[in-house]
């Protein structure tokens, strides 16, 4: 197995574990708690808050398990990148606006801070790297 395969395995296992843990931390609590945490961001109408609060943890769980197992890796890498970019954007917006709200990334009780932004930024970078490596032809990797 060359370095490229090792990199893919490392990135998908790390991201898969993160998504699975994020889903578990939300599913173990009443979904309305997560709805209130989403609502605090102030970016969605109530019907969308309710829908997202019910659906997102299951989406994260599915994504996490797909990444861990390696099924549909290209599709799950793209989905993970898209989701993480959106998370990062709304967290950055809240931080700039000075909102003292819960990140709600892994359960509750963690305020949005530079630490949470840095962590999310690293996850965005990892998922984008995984997507790029997965879509890049092996021949192109050999030439560089």
């Amino acid at each position: 197995m060359n370095w490229r395969r090792w990199l893919v395995v490392f990135l998908r296992v790390v991201l898969g574990a993160v998504f699975t843990y994020a889903a578990w931390s939300k599913l173990r609590q009443p979904w309305l708690l997560f709805a209130m945490a989403i609502d605090a961001y102030g970016v969605l109408p109530e019907w969308a808050v309710m829908t997202l609060a019910r659906a997102l943890p299951w989406f994260e769980l599915t994504l996490g398990l797909l990444l861990l197992t390696g099924f549909w890796l290209r599709q799950s890498a793209v989905a993970a990148s898209a989701v993480l970019v959106v998370f990062f954007a709304v967290m950055l917006r809240s931080y700039i606006k000075g909102l003292q709200i819960d990140c709600a990334c892994f359960g509750f009780g963690e305020a949005i801070s530079l630490k949470t932004l840095l962590r999310d930024g690293l996850l965005v970078a990892s998922s984008v790297a995984l997507t790029v490596v997965e879509f890049r032809p092996a021949s192109a990797a050999k030439q560089t």
Binding site: T20, A23, W24, L27, R28, Q29, P30, L32, L33, A35, M36, A37, D39, A40, E46, V49, L61, L65, L66, L68, T69, F71, L99, Q100, I101, D102, F108, G109, E110, A111
Partner: protein, 201 residues
């Protein structure tokens, strides 16, 4: 695909429950409602924080009329003045001092209503005393220097830190030995749904 199903089953099997804790001790000055109410909500708040003002005006007021006065919720105010807010600790002390003469709600109300003014000029005492009679105002101005008042604010901060409070406002909802922390200016509609869900359990 069987690996995927196995992982899904394991993840759900390890799902836990919210943190458990006992009901807080009864508060006389800073609480509203009946101590034996099935749900207790502790509100960790900072009088100088804009989100706390929003929570007080848009969520806690309807909560009080719909749940607290009907004996469903016991509401406890906890002071959690943040270090970046220059007059928040003084405001908390004034509210506690007003509470000693039975005027806690009136003090909270005026502190949030006139938050912009006293946060800018630092005249916290004037804001609180504007809703008190001259004799009450004299009492409050004397009481605010009482070390017990400062100690009670510090005690609330320590309680908050022990409960994992990092930002304001934070609500800690206690029901049947389980505690659910929620941060931010929670919408009343969502909070109402959550409380109804708990009460029908």
């Amino acid at each position: 695909m069987s690996r995927l199903i196995l992982l899904l089953s394991c993840t759900l099997a390890f799902s836990g429950v919210p943190s458990q804790s006992s009901k807080p001790a009864p508060e006389i000055i800073k609480s509203v409602g009946v101590f034996t109410a099935p749900i207790t909500i502790e509100v960790f708040s900072d009088f100088q924080c804009p989100s706390c003002k929003l929570l007080y005006e848009q969520t806690l007021r309807p909560l009080t009329s719909d749940y607290v006065t009907k004996g469903k919720v016991y509401l406890v105010h906890r002071d959690f003045p943040l270090p970046q807010h220059a007059h928040a600790r003084e405001a908390a002390c004034y509210a506690c001092a007003a509470g000693r003469i039975g005027k806690y709600e009136a003090a909270c109300d005026v502190l949030f209503r006139r938050q912009d003014a006293w946060a800018a000029d630092g005249k916290v005492g004037d804001a609180v005393c504007s809703v008190l009679s001259p004799s009450e105002a004299r009492q409050v101005r004397a009481l605010v220097k009482d070390p017990q008042i400062v100690a009670s604010v510090d005690q609330d901060v320590q309680l908050g830190q022990a409960a994992g409070v990092r930002q304001t406002p934070t609500l800690v909802i206690a029901y049947k030995n389980q505690r659910y922390p929620i941060s931010g200016a929670v919408s009343y509609d969502l909070l109402r749904r959550f409380l109804d869900q708990l009460l029908t359990k």
